[in-house]
């Protein structure tokens, strides 16, 4: 899609939705307080963030070596590694594997990477049934919607709308209780796990030294997805690799606390190849798909490279005052919030994502909570400068900024302009003069400041 993501319009629509505003505010406040409580328990938190950043940047500086080491160790454990350049190649690899194994149904655990490549659309087109098994993703799939948040994809849906949806699709009564609704889904999906010929998962971390992939979850659906079907296919972006098993001591401390305010998520699966001789369960085949899909371009871009350190915790979303008011859909892309405002222009082009880096007050709350210390505000600023340089800005913007700078270049000019502005200010206060851009936007919600009298520089006496 080459059309610009109109964030301002999407934000306006979100602001006009009282249920969404209330749901988001409640969810974000809750996430923040849960996160803060468990982070406070870790006195060495800042040291861990430094470690995580340094480890990720080291890996990125030696990414080819770590990926080949990972590949060798996955193969040594009996797994098969596939390398793909693009999302389309990844999806067709999965379709091929499904066909080769005559898989008619696939179960999937939650993976932003599979959303990024729109895997389900490919599978449907190829006549393969795919069942989302994460509760939130399952609900979204039933409703035909896109996720509104990495961690709680259905945060924008009320319990009532979920009850209505499940009642319609599963033929169950409209329960008022979250526990009953959940149990109904458990029963429905349990059958799907058994019927599935193939399970597709994402990867939170891939350990180069041991050829192990690590999956973090609460529900147990990833365990089921990677245990019951005969074939397990795991999709990872090239940036997911970390060097040593012991590095997980740090990353598994940072991720659950940052994402959901838990000391540890319900389950963490460490998978090293398929089942071994004599084992009675587990997949017979394990496939790891290592995907580029634009990451190598970001990797080559030194100023932007650090955004590949992201571990997809969602903490930046939860701390962002803009995200809190718009939710994930407004960002028009699978990655939302502050990290999304950086990734979307990079993955989909400055044309498509050109509003996103500007849709921020640069408050820096995201950077403060990022467990891997990505300098998000700085990345947003860098993107702003590229967008202005390559696409130009609106003529109003250019007029205002250049006018400002021209005035400020010269104190005499400033003095003269200051006098004119003071007169206009007085007139504006008496509403005799309609305000030009950007002051017109200002006045929608705010009064102008009171008249100031002579500027400081005129009052100064040594």
């Amino acid at each position: 899609m080459k059309e610009r993501i109109d964030f301002a319009r999407n934000a306006e629509a979100a602001l006009r939705n009282p249920f969404l505003q209330s749901a988001l505010r409640t969810a974000m406040v809750r996430f923040r307080s849960l996160r803060d409580a468990v982070v406070e328990e870790v006195p060495e938190w800042q040291v861990l963030r430094e470690y995580a950043y340094a480890t990720k940047m080291h890996v990125l500086a030696n990414l080819d070596r770590y990926l080949t080491r990972l590949e060798a160790n996955v193969a040594a454990a009996g797994g098969v590694v596939h390398w793909v350049r693009s999302g389309d190649e990844a999806a067709s690899t999965i379709v091929d594997l499904a066909r080769r194994h005559k898989a008619q149904t696939i179960v999937k655990s939650k993976s932003m990477t599979t959303e990024e490549i729109e895997l389900n659309r490919f599978l449907h087109a190829a006549g393969v049934q795919v069942a989302e098994t994460d509760l939130g993703e399952y609900l979204i799939q039933l409703a035909g919607e896109r996720p509104a948040h990495f961690v709680v994809p259905a945060v924008h849906k009320s319990k009532g709308s979920i009850a209505a949806l499940l009642s319609e699709k599963l033929g169950i009564p409209r329960f008022d209780d979250a526990a009953q609704l959940t149990r109904a889904v458990r029963g429905e999906l349990r059958q799907r796990f058994f019927a599935a010929d193939m399970g597709v998962s994402g990867v939170n971390f891939a350990i180069a030294d041991t050829g192990t992939i690590v999956i973090v979850e609460n529900e147990g659906n990833a365990r089921l997805t990677t245990t019951l079907p005969r074939v397990h296919v795991a999709l990872m972006g090239i940036e997911k690799v970390i060097p040593r098993l012991a590095d997980l001591a740090v990353f598994l401390t940072l991720l659950p606390r940052s994402a959901t305010g838990q000391r540890m998520t319900g389950y963490v699966s460490f998978i090293t190849g398929p089942r071994r001789a004599g084992e009675v369960d587990g997949p017979e085949e394990f496939h790891l798909i290592i995907m580029d899909n634009g990451r190598s371009s970001i990797h080559a871009d030194r100023a932007m490279r650090e955004c590949l350190a992201c571990i997809r915790c969602g903490a930046c979303l939860n701390s962002c005052p803009v995200f809190e008011r718009t939710g994930g859909h407004a960002y028009g892309s699978v990655y939302s919030g502050p990290i999304g405002a950086v990734l979307t222009p990079l993955y989909r082009g400055l044309d498509v994502g050109r509003d996103l880096p500007f849709a921020s007050s640069l408050c820096g709350a995201c950077e403060e909570v990022c467990p891997v210390k990505i300098g998000l505000p700085r990345l947003l600023l860098e993107l702003r400068s590229r967008i202005v340089r390559r696409r130009g800005a609106s003529w109003m913007d250019r007029l205002f900024v250049r006018g400002w700078v021209a005035t400020m270049m010269n104190p005499t000019r400033l003095r003269a302009a200051g006098r004119v502005v003071r007169i206009l200010h007085h007139l504006a206060l008496r509403q005799r003069v309609p305000l030009p851009y950007p002051f017109s936007e200002w006045s929608k919600a705010r009064d102008l400041p009171p008249p100031a009298g002579p500027p400081f520089r005129d009052r100064w006496r040594s």
């Binding site: 940047m57 990125l60 319990k159 012991a246 540890m264 009675v280 369960d281 290592i290 030194r302």
Partner: protein, 204 residues
């Protein structure tokens, strides 16, 4: 050029950058008794945890499972569980051994009984490894997971675990409480896809 070659070439092409790999962090000493901390932290995440002597284990497990109306259990083959297995058999509880644990059978069991290789006190986490005598599904498919843990396997922190752990099985799993979600209006619900409840017996 294959996709592999192309990707690796692109990644190599960007040249060297000075970015040293940090040293692995040494395990930090925690204050207090790790066993006590484990009990607290596991309970905090919704696990039922009791301390018991090895002598009292079998009787206690049988009593607790009977109270829950358990009639069929899937078990791991492990010397620690031998007394439990025989006591359950004596009670007429159906025992499903590893070699018979097909997924259709295990999912119909009322409980899965396993040991735990390690536990992490700081987070209340059990660590389970799989093998031919220790299927993955035992702790996953039945609605109740019963885990027997020796107190000397309780490690204070994650760092302690990874210091010890070098060789990995095909599947190693961290289990922290029962399965859960908060996807519906952020309401916490226990028991989604994995077990609905978990009972831990700490020996010693």
């Amino acid at each position: 050029m294959s996709a592999r070659e192309e990707i690796l070439r692109r990644l190599r092409a960007t040249g060297e950058a000075e970015a040293p790999l940090p040293e692995i962090r040494a395990p930090i000493r925690i204050t207090g008794d790790p066993v006590q901390l484990f009990l607290e932290r596991a309970a905090a995440v919704g696990a039922d945890v009791v301390r018991i002597t090895s002598g009292g284990l079998a009787e206690r497990v049988v009593r607790d499972l009977r109270r829950r109306g358990v009639q069929a259990v899937a078990v791991w083959e492990d010397p620690v569980l031998a007394s439990v297995q025989s006591a359950l058999r004596a009670e007429g509880v159906e025992i499903l051994l590893p070699q018979d644990q097909t997924s259709t059978r295990v999912t119909r069991a009322d409980a899965g009984v396993t040991t735990a290789d390690y536990a992490i006190a700081e987070t209340g986490t059990l660590v389970l490894t799989c093998s031919p005598l220790r299927p993955r599904s035992t702790s996953l498919l039945p609605p109740l997971h019963v885990a027997v843990l020796s107190r000397d396997r309780i490690l204070p922190t994650l760092e302690h675990l990874f210091t010890d752990l070098h060789v990995l099985p095909s599947a190693l799993t961290f289990i922290t409480g029962p399965s859960r979600t908060a996807d519906i209006e952020l309401t916490p619900v226990q028991g989604v896809h994995g077990p609905v409840s978990i009972q831990v017996y700490v020996l010693g």
